[in-house]
Structures are given as C-alpha cells and as structure tokens.
Amino acid sequence: MIHKYTLNGMFIVLDVNSGAVHIVDELVYDILDYYREADTDTIVQKLSDKYGEDDIRTAISELDELVAARQLFTPDTYAAVAPFVKKREPVVKALCLHIAHDCNLKCKYCFAEEGEYHGKRELMSAEVGKKAIDMLIKTSGARKNLEIDFFGGEPLMNFGVVKEIVEYARSIENEHGKKFRFTITTNGILLDDEKLDYINKNMHNLVLSIDGRKEVNDRMRPRAGGQGSYDNIVPKFQKAAESRNQTDYYVRGTFTRHNLDFSEDVMHLADLGFKQISVEPVVADLSEDYAIQESDLPAIFKEYENLTNKIKERREKGEWFNFFHFMIDLTGGPCVIKRLVGCGSGTEYLAVSPSGDLYPCHQFVGRPEFKMGTVDTGVVNTDIRCDFENCNVYNKPACKECWARFYCSGGCVANSYNTHGDLISPYEIGCEMQRKRIECAIYLKACEE
C-alpha cells in the first residue's frame, strides 16, 4: 500500500508498511497510477503524450529497485505480530494522577467539566498517591522507565501532595531498579517562583495550558469571575520556558470552531518566545457551538498548510520552533510494535482518580462503567483491559484501509467512544485532521533534507 500526495509542488510517496518516504518527480507520480496494474509497455503507451519513452522506462526501473529493496509496495506482515503483543505479560508503566478534581478556571471546552469529571470536587491525598506509586512499581514488571503525569483539574491546587508523591517515588526508585519521569500540566494561575523551582528540579516535562492570542484564550479560558486568564499567565509561562532552557516543556493549546485561523495562535505563541508549542483540535460533543464540524475540514486543511508554510519560513530565517503535532521522527521513531498498539490506554497507561480508582485513561475518569480497580486492588476488571488490548490497528476495520495507521496507531480510543460508543470505530473528523497533519509533517521533513 502506498499513499501519494502533493504539497507546494512537491510530489511525495509514502510506502505504508515500510515507512519509507520518497520524493519523486511528476513522471514517477504519474506512473504510480498504473504501476501495479499495467506492464511497462502499456505504461509507456499511456504516458507517451506527456513524457519521453526513455525517461518512462528509467523511472519504472527505479521503482522496480525500490520494490526489490522493500521500500515500495512492501507487504503488510505485521498482523502476525499483533497476537504476540496480546500475549505479553500485562504491565502498567505510566499513570496519570488526578491530583485535583477542582479548577480555578472555567474553560468552556473542558472534558473534565471544569475539573470535576462527572463527580464532586475532590483532592487526591498523599496516601492515595503513594499507593499509586507502589502499585506502579509492583505492576511494571521489568520496565525501568516509569511515568507519572500530575493532572487535573488544576494540580497546583494540591501542590503539597504533588511534592509528597515525588519525594516518595524518588526515595524508593533505586531500590526497585526504576526511574520515574514526572510531568505536570498546569493552567498557570497558581504558578509562582517557588513552585517553578521545584518543578524544574523534579519534573521531566512541564505542560503549560494557553490557547494563543489573548482574545482566543480568554474567550474559552475565563476565570471564575469571567475575566480572562491570558494576562496572568503569559509572563509566568515565558519565565518558565526560559528557566527550562526552552526544552522539556510545552505550551499547549486547544483550537475550536471559533478560531479556525489557529495558525495565528501558533505564531502568536512563537512570537511570545515559546519554542515548544502544541495546539490541538478540541474534542467536544458536536452539539456545542465551538465543536469542529465535518464542514470545517476544508478550512482546517488549508490552515494546516498555512501553518506549514509559516513554520518553514521561520525555520529558513533561523527562527526555529517546534510544533508538537508536526513532529515526526523518520529515523528514530517507534518500532512497529508500538505503532500497532498505540498509546497504551487501559493497558500500560492508566488514570487514577483523587479517591484512588483506576480508569483506562484521563478521559474515562468518572465513568463508572470503565472503573478497572483501585490503587489498593490493582486492576481487577480484566475484561476492560482485554477490550483495550484488542484496540490495535488490525482490529479496527477503518484502520486496515488507512495509509496513516502506523503514524497514529488507530487514534484516540476515548474519541472513538465519545463519537461512536465503542472503542474501535475511529472518530472520523479526527482522522481527517490527523492525516493532514502527517502530510504536512512529512513535507516539512522533506524540505529540511
């Protein structure tokens, strides 16, 4: 299977099953319309009005070389690998700790329902947090690198407990042969020098929530009294980014139907001096006025192209910044097994509610039908784990036919559930945007080679 597309006059061919990327000329691009079905003489005949015979034959021989090298029309042999993945001893290696089901912002698109996740306002205790660490060590098998994400609500509303959990994990990691990596996500309202200093000393990654331009951010991310949050957080975020030497952090935003010109928000964040930027589409019920509709896709595709061109222009001027959703690692990215199983939600990755209940990921927290156990019992509802284990690209009918399956790994399970009520039917609007982002990301890579 291949995928071919053009962007800004560049002809790009992806070999889906090997991951090879070929930049071709228009002749090769045209030949590929016939290459698999027709013999060389027929192709020469079909294209002789546009190209010379010698050129056509040379190009076909080059394609033959790539096929022989298993870099074009490579057969898909990975379905046999999927059962191996399922047979692996189940381990948990990453936890999202819901430190606070409470928030000091009233973001209109919040899937956590302003921090409460379908439940009551609640803070995690240090005891629950420490039990989560113990459970993670116990269930992580031979995995060395363990991840803890302090999430909310707003985790800085319970920062004392965050520190207790970090210190507890650090105090026992060596004796168990583990290495904890901590991430904290914050809206910045309570961020001060003392907390930032602690975060910089202890957290591998820092995610700072901001949507972009002041009017865009403040429309969707107001404070309880209705006033915006932008003016409060921007100076702190700038300071935080600089204090981390512009690495190992992200400013992370959400775009909605209200700002389909979101490339302006990305560039605004870049103009504020941020070098690590993530802005992703809102996930929302389609009945919400800010939800992205299928009819918005042409404008969004155009906007991703605008963003691509703006990033390219900046980089050519030496003004580099990273856009998370265009990151793609062609030479060192994940193995095919990782690409088959995706994000690991419900299996390697679990979320822990403030009271210590386990859920498949942060987006399922508070849905009783997805409760998998507690930090005391570990995972006891193995049926749910089994359902999530089965979420590989070969069990998702739509993914089998999709060229992007080894880039997105089948997409976000929570999005599938929210859209279709099952775990294996992809959220189509999300897929469309994902495919466009991959095309743009690979184009940017090709420009830099």
Binding site: N17, S18, G19, A20, H22, V24, L27, V28, E62, E65, L66, Q71, T74, T77, Y78, R88, C96, N145, E147, D149, T183, N205, Y250, R252, S278, E280, P281, V283, F324, H325, D329, L330, T331, G332, G333, P334, C335, V336, I337, K338, R339, G342, C343, S345, E348, Y349, C361, H362, F406, Y407, C408, S409, G411, C412, A414, M433, Q434, R437, K445, E449
Partner: protein, 46 residues
C-alpha cells in the same frame, strides 16, 4: 536514482525483531491529551 529521492528512514520491517521493549514514552504523557500521535515518540532502544 534520477527521478526519486528517498529520505533517510528507519524501515518498520527492521524493527519487528528487536521491538516491543515498551520503554518508550506513552503518548499522552507529552503534550497531547486528546489526539493520539504515536509516530513522534522517540525509541528508547536504539
């Protein structure tokens, strides 16, 4: 080749044998909480 330039890419079929160690980062721990992106994760076993 005169018509084709192939980018330097790790071929997926070569990752089957030694892949699956599971030490790499889970996607949602980075900067994406709502749109799964896996291909941008770094391999920890190079």
């Amino acid at each position: 080749m005169t018509h084709i330039k192939t980018l330097n890419t790790k071929l997926l079929q070569n990752t089957v044998e030694k892949g699956g160690c599971g030490e790499c980062q889970t996607s949602c721990q980075s900067a994406c909480k709502t749109s799964c992106t896996v291909a941008n994760q770094a391999c920890e076993n190079r």
